[in-house]
């Protein structure tokens, strides 16, 4: 398989996975709908953990840790812009100190 063919195949798999639940499969109902509605928040926190620790082999550096802590501190304000700003300030501040 050529690299171009691989890219097209990867793109097709990716798009189909997106379209499956939105277009192709029947909408969730009853128990499944309740389950699906409860997934996003823990999924995003899980993705945050995954982005933070990676494959678990190495601990994140101090700047990344500071960014995550700063974001957690302002997260109760429920402002994405503020959370991102706090994270970047935490990252830069610890980078300047160390």
């Amino acid at each position: 398989m050529s690299d171009l063919a691989l890219l097209f195949t990867v793109a097709a798999v990716t798009y189909l996975s997106r379209a499956a639940a939105v277009v192709l499969l029947p909408g969730a109902r009853g128990y499944l709908l309740g389950l699906v509605n409860r997934i996003p928040a823990p999924l995003f926190v899980s993705l945050a953990v995954f982005a933070f620790v990676g494959d678990g082999v190495a601990l994140p550096d101090a700047s990344t840790t500071a960014a995550a802590i700063a974001a957690l501190l302002v997260a109760p304000r429920r402002s994405l812009g503020l959370t991102l700003a706090a994270g970047i300030v935490g990252y830069v501040a610890v980078g300047l100190i160390l």
Binding site: V22, A28, P40, F44, V45, S46, V49, A71
Partner: protein
Amino acid sequence: MSSQPGPASLPTLAPIAMAIAVFGMVYGAAAQVLLGTWLTLISSVLIFSGTVQFTMAGLLAAGSGPLAVLWAVFVVNIRNFALGGAVRPHLTGRRLQRILVSWFLIDETVGLALAAPADTDRVLLRSGLIAYLAWVVGTAVGVAGGASVGLEGLASAVFPVLFIGLAALIVRTSSGLARAGVGALVTLVLLLVSPSLAGLAPIIGGVVAALPGGGGE
């Protein structure tokens, strides 16, 4: 009444676009070595998924074959079923519109869309367009040599922050907060105990926490 900007507003979308563009720059610089200039650009135009593209590039760099790449891509895409399932009840457009907006179904846009359940179609479309442009332009800048060494560190720090912010937008109840905590804990344990589960750990954590009783109620 809240004075905070809406999920589809420029103040909300601009920092997300910047984060995605930085990530795209890092991808462009890294993938160019493996795929060359044009295929790297084509990959971002066609695939539009940082997780998928970094996974693909990492496996190709390690010498993996096409089947291994496709299997890994399938695994990391499993979470799209959950994201799509969560956003679908809020979509009001016809089938053709849903075919279009599903192109823009990525973690960041779904997080924003779920924060505006009455305006999901518009938020998904608008944030998706901006995220797509940021990703492709970022890749082009990275391919052109615009990615510096410091960007990789910043990109790796921005995404945990971004996901924390998106989760905060969605969590509205104490049981939702408890579920988020359970999801984080399950994911952390999975990643530490079995690093080979990396692509699946977040979706397992999310689903386990969403099960009845997962929030402690």
